[in-house]
Amino acid sequence: MIPALGLLVGVVIGLLLHPTVPLCLQPYLPIAVIAALDAVFGGVRAVLDGVFNDKVFVVSFLSNVLVAAFIVFLGDQLGVGSQLSTGVVVVLGIRIFSNVAAIRRHLFKA
């Protein structure tokens, strides 16, 4: 519950402050967001499974974001930027789906 409140507070702060993202970081923003979401849903599923570990959560969050951004950056340098980012989005999307399905099974027993 406390982390959920923290999430809400973060969203509100972001909406109020409305910072401008530097132009060089803008292409990586969507990928970073999806990677962060994947780590967050993995954490929620771990909580429901009863095996949550904050160190694992933090490490998985940071490494997801960095690796996803790095793959997109590498793709841009190699000229296959859109294909690699599509691949990253597909994989992260599948992981998000399976985590959310597990959460759903926990919550609704259905």
Binding site: P3, F52, V58
Partner: protein, 340 residues
């Protein structure tokens, strides 16, 4: 943890994606904690978790805002520009109306000043000069040439940049220039296009997608009104190279061009240009038919022959058309009040 390798271990990637259990590190860490006697899950209330949650929420909000707002900013700027354009156009039209009223007043004052003092010859010369220079409306028989864009491009209200500039079926400024030149050569004495009178200072050019006459953009269909002797003009126009040009337009590009004679046409007046640098050569103003050799190629300097004499209306009018079809601004000083 040691797991015996599955028989389908080579499909590791697919199985990883599809049957994905929870992140294995969670299970491993929980296993270790249980062995150490601690509860398998750490608390979710630690400071790190709250900070991470804040950061995630913040990043989500920033991403949503920054990735969404770009289009609306552009749209807003465009709407503002459109509003400014319409506002300035109304102001320009009002000023043009004012100019016309003032010119009428000037003409009336001049007539009343000249008539009683016995300068009727001067007044008559002034009137004929005005007719030739295009500063009074004229009426008479003549030809009506109507051009329109070819049918496929006519119905497309899509972004004109989509077909990369002038498609084949569009009327270009060159077409209008050629047709106007042909009409002058055929004996027209006054020409106006879509209500814009062509004077000695007029240029037909295009800027972007619009055709401009005297810096006013025209909307299709383009109606060229030429006052002169109907039969002679029609014959000379059709027999000249312009006639075959027009035929080629219709046949090859599908641009509908209609030429019809009319017994009574009117050409409106255009405003009187103010000449700042050109001065009459002989200050005694003897009405000689001096056709100053103004070559069409040197278009910027072609308009420097002050007030052309009225009787030579046919010969002096043609050099004012700039021959360059590119949308470059002609360098002649254009003192007429036009919409900015």
């Amino acid at each position: 943890m040691s797991i015996t390798p599955r028989p389908d271990a080579s499909m590791g990637l697919i199985t990883e994606l599809m049957e994905r259990p929870l992140e294995p590190s969670y299970a491993a860490a929980a296993h270790r904690r249980v062995e150490a006697g601690l509860p398998p899950s750490t608390s979710t209330r630690s400071v790190t978790i709250v900070i991470i949650a804040l950061v995630v929420g913040f990043v989500l909000a920033v991403a949503a805002l920054s990735l969404r707002s770009t289009t609306s900013v552009v749209g807003q700027a465009r709407m503002q520009l459109i509003d400014q354009i319409t506002a300035r156009q109304t102001v320009g039209d009002q000023l043009a109306g004012q100019i016309q009223t003032l010119e009428k007043q000037i003409a009336a004052a001049r007539a009343s000043a000249l008539a009683p003092s016995g300068q009727s010859a001067l007044l008559a010369q002034l009137n004929s000069l005005q007719v030739a220079a295009g500063s009074v409306p004229v009426t008479g028989p003549g030809l009506l040439v109507t051009l329109d864009d070819a049918a496929p491009t006519k119905g497309s209200n899509a972004d004109p940049r989509a077909n990369g500039g002038f498609g084949d079926g569009r009327v270009t400024a060159t077409d209008l220039q050629v047709i106007t030149n042909g009409l002058w050569a055929a004996g027209a004495e006054a020409i106006s296009i879509n209500g814009q009178r062509l004077t000695t200072h007029s240029a037909i050019r295009f800027a972007g997608q619009a055709i401009l006459v005297d810096f006013r953009a025209l909307a299709r269909p383009y109606v060229v009104t030429a006052i002169g002797d109907t039969a002679t003009m029609q014959g000379a126009f059709g027999a000249s190279t312009v006639g075959s040009y027009v035929k080629a337009l219709t046949d090859n590009y599908g641009i509908p061009v209609t030429i019809e004679g009319n017994g009574s046409l009117t050409c409106p007046a255009s405003s009187v240009p103010v000449l700042r640098y050109a001065e009459p050569l002989a200050p005694s103003a003897v009405p000689t038919a001096t056709t100053t050799p103004s070559t069409p190629a040197a278009a910027p300097s072609a308009t420097s022959g002050a007030k052309k004499t009225g009787s030579a209306a046919k010969t002096t009018a043609s050099p004012s058309k700039t021959a360059t079809p590119a949308g470059s601004t002609s360098a002649a000083p254009r003192p007429q009040a036009t919409t900015p």
